[in-house]
């Protein structure tokens, strides 16, 4: 793994605009930043990141099988009592998963350490699977990277195949998100493209416009019944909404399936550590308030539900840092051993490995001056050296 000062394509901004990728700047500062890229070797990708991610996903599935039989663990993960059956039943039914993203601390040396698994509502998909892919094609076409250069990025094709495997042809799928959230919309649109390529019908509805019919089914903003719903909205919020009680009787298939509420929950981290203590890709982790001597003096406090770095507190002497976002501060917390993000130049790097189904199919990198990767962290492309 190496940072490579390749320089940006002179026309990247026009290309972004032409593609409708309007959030390449986030209210001023640069978000998509191809001024530098990261280079990997093929074996590094396959052995250090791809294989561990698939192994960790399999371990998460083992953990879910255990959690759904334990009221105590469901309680620790703050799954509302009324909806534990919904979560457990989706696992027993074998409801298939579509996608997720594991975030790793990895800098080229030693095993990648899993920081968390956004297994329910990962975003940044468009820039990873589309714009980053196009960047490499351009760099090769203009001779700035050699012909044999590659990228860990089969995400688009993998999602198309996954849809084909999950649903009958012509299945109508509703995609729900907050329409005014540009990046969420880009992510669902990217998935909807893949669904259409797989032969499915794709329909958008703003999440807040979903209704319940007289028969207890969900309907979109135009009163059309929803048979299959992809929602870019976290299960932990969904299970606390007014319509939570309607889910079980709605005859609606929902993506991700309800059991992903257990995996995207940071409470999975101490459970994984308990089940697979010492695994090279895991960091020691514990529920706050439990015996935590094994953590050592440097650790990170995380709310069990949080995204974009919100609510994270690093306790590590001089490196201590506290997230300014307190939206999740009322949630239960876990403690995880501190694995500093590797630093290249003046930026910290986090490797996001994308899972489609049970397999790893791509990578996106986020960089930040801060030790906590957050919503304003920049996205940098990567390539595999020829």
């Amino acid at each position: 793994m190496r940072r490579d000062e390749l320089g940006a394509r002179p026309d990247w901004q026009e290309k972004a605009e032409a593609a409708g990728f309007t959030f390449h700047h986030l209210g001023g500062p640069l978000y998509w930043d191809e001024g530098a890229a990261y280079a990997f070797t093929l074996s590094e990708i396959e052995e250090r990141l791809e294989r561990p991610a698939e192994e960790l996903h399999a371990m998460c599935r083992e953990a879910v099988a255990r959690i759904v039989t334990s009221e105590e663990l469901m309680e620790k993960l703050s799954i509302p009592e009324a909806h534990r059956d919904l979560v457990a039943q989706s696992w027993r039914d074998g409801a298939p998963e579509l996608y997720g993203r594991m975030d790793f601390s990895y800098g080229g040396e030693g095993p990648a350490k899993l920081l968390e698994y956004n297994a329910d509502t990962p975003t940044t998909l468009y820039e990873t699977s589309g714009f980053q892919w196009d960047w490499l094609e351009d760099m090769i076409a203009t001779g700035r990277l050699s012909e044999g250069s590659d990228q860990f990025n089969g995400i688009h094709e993998a999602i198309v195949e996954r849809f084909r495997a999950m649903f009958e042809p012509d299945t109508d799928i509703h995609f729900a998100a907050f329409e005014d959230s540009v990046e969420d919309y880009a992510t669902v649109e990217t998935i909807a493209w893949a669904a259409r390529e797989a032969g499915m019908g794709a329909h958008f509805t703003d999440l807040r416009k979903i209704g319940v019919t007289e028969d207890g089914q969900f309907a979109d903003g135009e009163d059309r019944v929803i048979g299959t719903l992809f929602k870019l909205y976290p299960w932990e919020d969904m299970l606390r909404d007014d319509f939570a009680d309607a889910i079980a009787g709605s005859s609606c298939r929902i993506l991700e399936p309800p059991w992903k509420a257990l995996v995207s929950n940071k409470g999975i981290l101490p459970i994984l550590w308990q089940m697979f203590e010492g695994h090279p890709n895991l960091l020691p982790a514990f529920f706050a308030g439990e015996e935590t001597d094994a953590l050592g003096p440097s650790h990170v406090e995380k709310p069990i539900f949080s995204r974009e770095g919100a609510g994270i507190r690093i306790h590590a002497g001089d490196e201590s840092e506290v997230s300014s976002d307190t939206a999740y501060d009322s949630h239960p917390r876990i403690l995880q051993a501190y694995a500093p993000l590797p630093k290249f130049g003046d930026e910290h790097v986090m490797c996001g490995i994308w899972l489609v189904g049970t397999e790893a199919h791509g990578m996106g990198l986020r960089v930040d001056h801060s030790r906590i990767t957050q919503d304003t962290s920049r996205f940098r492309p990567h390539y595999i050296e020829a």
Binding site: L42, D184, E189, R224, V225, R307, T373, S377
Partner: protein, 199 residues
Amino acid sequence: MTQSHPIRKRARHARVLLLGTAAFSLAACQPEEQVDTNVFPSLEECRALADLPENDFTPEDCAAGFEEAQAIHAESAPRYDDQALCEEEHGGECVVETRSDGTSIFLPLLAGYMIGNMIGGRGMAAQPLYRTQGGRFATPGGGTTVSGLRGNTQLRPNSFAAAPNTRAAAPLSRAAVQSRGGFGASRTGGGVGARGFGG
């Protein structure tokens, strides 16, 4: 996808998808087909009109439609335990049916019926019509109302669908929505602006 000799690690195609345009074009603007519909207060009036050259339905359509409307009436007519309520809801006389246990149940009278020439060779469909409180005429379940019992109109195909009470409706069929807005309130992450969940 861990393989010993992968050909390449990236997709053969991913095209830079054009955001904000066409992924959901189906949802955005597919104009719904319309069903050419004729409304009658009685079988006799339908038959009389069928003989006029400008009308494209036949006396046989009238009879078949009336029969179908009566069958749906028997299955799906609004039913009330209380005679006064039935009369109030339907602005007029209601008839009584006796249940097997001897109790009484009240149904509005069939005020008229409509027949529609379904698109795509699906033949003719019919629905009974009942007077509403407001003096209009509605299908069983109230999904479609028309203002009078005579004339020609364009309706959505679903106006001829079975009343929504027997089984789960099929995806994308239209259904009566009771309440909205039950998702989204618990949103902790994100917020209005460019970025949302995930990171």
